[in-house]
Amino acid sequence: MNGGPSQVDTWDYKPELEKRDGQELKGLDPNTGFFNQQVGPLMKSPFKFAKHGQCGKMVSDLFPHMAKHVDKMAFIHSLWSDSNNHSPALFKMNTGLARMGYPCVGSWVTYGLGSESRSLPAFCVMYDTLGRGIPKGHSLNWSAGFLPTVYQGTAFKPQGEPIDNLTRPKDITEERQRSQLDLLAKLNKHAMEKHPDEPDWLARVESYELAYRMQMAAPDALDLSKETEETKKLYGLDNPKATHFAKQCLIARRLVEKGCPLRANLFRRHGKRSELGRTQQHREESRRLRGGNRSAHRGAPRRPSAEGFAR
């Protein structure tokens, strides 16, 4: 999450941090980062960690439900960043470089592995639905960079219809639209004889066919009314604090089932916690995590029963 809870409060237990709570951090340059001369001592997580599952994964008490399923989850603890600012850190997380312009992981995966679905984009992106803004850095976080432009992530709108213009205008029938596209393909083919090695031109031609198929396939993928009430409840759609995140998780699952190999859920949760000091803002964040806004926990998919999940 963009500005979300820290890993040291959620999934990344730091026993050394607990031991050194209240101590000054040796070697720290007080002019580092945004808080010149304002950085306080080390601070342990205010949340309790405990072992869970057969694997013994340490999980904070923020996730009492997800903690029961740790044996079915994969944790990657090797991620690191060399930027403490939103946009560069997001670029680092998504592309591997703190500078803009590099292909993101979704583009690399679809470039290398392709997609099983011919009717949906291979790489879909969903972001915050509560009007809190697009992730810092915008579409550069799901950019194809120097890879062919067709590997760009397709962003779903956070509010209203996820994909604009999915419905044909009333004055065009399917047959007429098909005629248009056939004519377009024919005329573009004439033109491409002059530009045979232009990948963008070919990609554009193919994108119209994908768009045509998406008109049929995407509404079904995005239609959550087809899910059972049990499934909706398991995802947390019934919880007003979690609905926005739960919906995105459920849509992501439906997209995967329909062959879309990669989707990124980027959420903006602008916490103001200082990692190295106890501040008023942190206390507020802590309060929000505890009771006011545990949307991520509630909405993240819990494993339904085998019966509920069977397809």
Partner: protein, 130 residues
Amino acid sequence: MKKARAASIYFTMKRSKLIPSLVVFDAPDGTVGVGDRSSTTVAPQSLHLMNNPHVRAAAYGLAKRTRRRQDLRRRRSDTGVPDRVVPCTDKGRTEGCNCLLEGASADARETAMADLCQVLFCLNEFLYVE
């Protein structure tokens, strides 16, 4: 202005209420400096050109302009769009027009012409300026 080879249009962009038709066609992030604007090829752009009401209205507008021409022969070979946008081969153009106008009654001709004009908007030659 007549001698200018390029023109700039400035308008206000509200960060929390971006314009969808600009966003879908790679509008840059206004909050950061961008050295090189990205150029993508994604299906929502195609959906925009195929189904967006504004695009459809523009197609009807262009169709109406061509309807004013009296000569049917001229209407088939010249849609009012500069030659460099439409494929040079007469065969391609004629084929295309006939394809959509074939069987169209007089009443439906305007709609069929709008369909053709919309196809022209979608052409690679229209989108990628040489």
